[in-house]
């Protein structure tokens, strides 16, 4: 073999590589699922909250549920285009309402058939790292001239982003702080911006702030509820679901007092 030509140019190398590529998908085939799981499309802010709830649901009913976490807008687009979800837990009421209007989702036969079912309410907090050079979070922190970068979620689509802008506007601070805002794609990313220290503070969800990691890294201040419109989180059943009975069971489970109390512990206020 020509010493100038590297080993990976040889014919034997190519044939063995291609053989490997052909065999790999066969070896990696997933074991067959005994039963189709209940597929839950869940807003990104539920990522720290929902996994134990799904486990309890399986324990109580024997129904295995799997969640996909994404921005509510993204999930809405996916459902509009036929994504095989059974239940949609949004971070607001607007997106699921959009799906109801398009006859792609429904409210499981509740009295009000055009409004998504509120399953929880979000809480906006101001969060900063403990080792920050700025004072501990309070409304005064937002007035601090040393606050150079404040992370918020995208106000065009993330409900917490809208709430953040509403709160800043109510405090007459929006115009001052606008050049210092860094916009994250969703509320979890806003938390990452602040937790990684790249932003001095962040207006994030209480669900993020009460995760173990953020609790050990920083402190938060609850933005007074009168400063922003309520972040009502709505759910709908995807009309095309083949597991309607299971979906209804899941809905009842979420609204049960036990789960509502669990939500409260992880930073979501109860629906009622």
């Amino acid at each position: 073999m020509n010493p100038m030509i590297p080993a990976y140019m040889s014919k034997r190398f190519f044939s063995s590589t291609f053989a490997l590529l052909l065999v790999m998908p066969l070896a990696a085939q997933a074991p067959l699922q005994a039963q189709t799981p209940l597929r839950v499309a869940a807003a990104a802010d539920l990522e720290p909250v929902l996994p134990p709830v799904l486990a309890e649901f399986e324990h109580a009913t024997g129904i295995h549920a799997e969640a996909t976490y994404q921005a509510s807008a993204m999930l809405t687009t996916q459902i509009e285009n036929g994504a095989p979800f059974d239940v949609f837990l949004s971070a607001d009421l607007g997106y699921p309402k959009h799906l109801i209007d398009d006859k792609l989702a429904d409210t499981a036969g509740s009295a009000d058939s055009i409004t998504p079912i509120t399953y929880a309410k979000g809480t906006l907090v101001l969060w900063a790292r403990k080792d920050s050079h700025l004072p501990t979070p309070s409304l005064d922190l937002l007035h601090d001239a040393n606050l150079k970068r404040l992370a918020i979620a995208n106000p065009d689509r993330a409900p917490y982003g809208r709430a953040a802008v509403a709160a800043l506007t109510a405090l007459n601070l929006y115009d001052t702080l606008k050049p210092r805002l860094v916009t994250a794609e969703n509320i979890s990313q806003a938390a990452q911006f602040a937790d990684s220290g790249n932003a001095d503070a962040g207006l994030i969800s209480l669900t993020s702030a009460t995760t173990q990691r953020l609790q050990s890294d920083g402190t938060y201040f609850m933005i007074p509820r009168n400063l922003y419109p309520p972040i009502e989180q709505g759910l709908v059943i995807v009309t095309n679901t083949r597991q309607r009975a299971a979906a209804h069971q899941f809905l009842d489970f979420l609204l049960s007092p036990a789960i509502q109390a669990e939500f409260a512990k992880s930073g979501l206020a109860p629906a009622k």
Partner: protein, 232 residues
């Protein structure tokens, strides 16, 4: 045309041009070393230079966000050097883009250099050409198509870059809001008309630019071949 964000377009072009220049300055010597030197451990270097393709872009962006942030020594060093942290700034995007597009600059050059007849390289060496001269007068002229491919791929890959910018950028108009972010925002906000227009313009411009570049390359190739024919 109203919905077209010219500021974002200019920013994307500036980012892609700067990234391409830096990448070529890195990838030409790196590619030459990978092909000319025979040390075994260089395989590890080549593997590392290809690694950015394996990581999902948003994950790569997240790692960079943490690495360049004030909680690491690297991040603090950079902040001391530049006077500001790199995240959420144009310079931060340049760093991210260079890492993200590195394989797209290195791979074509390695393939192009490796395809050159080793006899020519040996002859040049025997005639006393040092490594720099070898690259300048033998490797690069003979691997022109690969150089072009490396430049074009780096440029386009940076224009279309999204995940890294999303994590590292913070969507600041004029500094980090690139055209792909604008396009994504339009799609996410259900503004499909504007998104379609932006995507169409972006693709149209790219096709025209590529056609111009490739037709110039083709003309030169035909011309070289003809000249070669006359000599034979």
């Amino acid at each position: 045309m109203i919905a077209m964000d010219w500021q974002a377009l200019a920013l994307s072009l500036r980012l892609a041009a700067l990234t391409t220049l830096i990448l070529l300055a890195i990838a030409v010597p790196l590619g030459a070393v990978l092909v000319l030197a025979r040390a075994r451990w260089l395989a590890a270097v080549e593997a590392l230079a290809t690694l950015p393709m394996v990581l999902p872009p948003t994950v790569l962006g997240f790692f960079l966000l943490v690495l360049l942030g004030p909680r690491t020594a690297v991040g603090r060093g950079i902040a001391a050097l530049f006077g500001h942290p790199l995240a959420f700034s144009f310079s931060g995007l340049v760093v991210g883009s260079v890492i993200y597009s590195l394989p797209f600059a290195v791979q074509p050059l390695v393939a192009g250099f490796a395809a050159i007849d080793p006899a020519l390289i040996d002859a040049a060496r025997l005639l006393g050409a040092g490594p720099v001269r070898l690259v300048r007068t033998v490797l690069l002229p003979l691997a022109r198509r690969s150089l072009l491919a490396a430049a074009v791929l780096s440029f386009l890959h940076t224009i279309g870059e999204f995940g890294v910018v999303l994590m590292l950028g913070g969507d600041i108009p004029g500094a980090t809001r690139t055209l792909s972010i604008v396009l994504y925002n339009q799609v996410e906000n259900f503004d499909y008309t504007a998104a379609g227009r932006t995507a169409f313009l972006l693709m149209g411009m790219s096709v025209i630019a590529l056609a111009v570049i490739y037709s110039a390359a083709r003309r030169q190739q035909v011309w070289t071949r003809r000249r070669g024919g006359e000599h034979a």
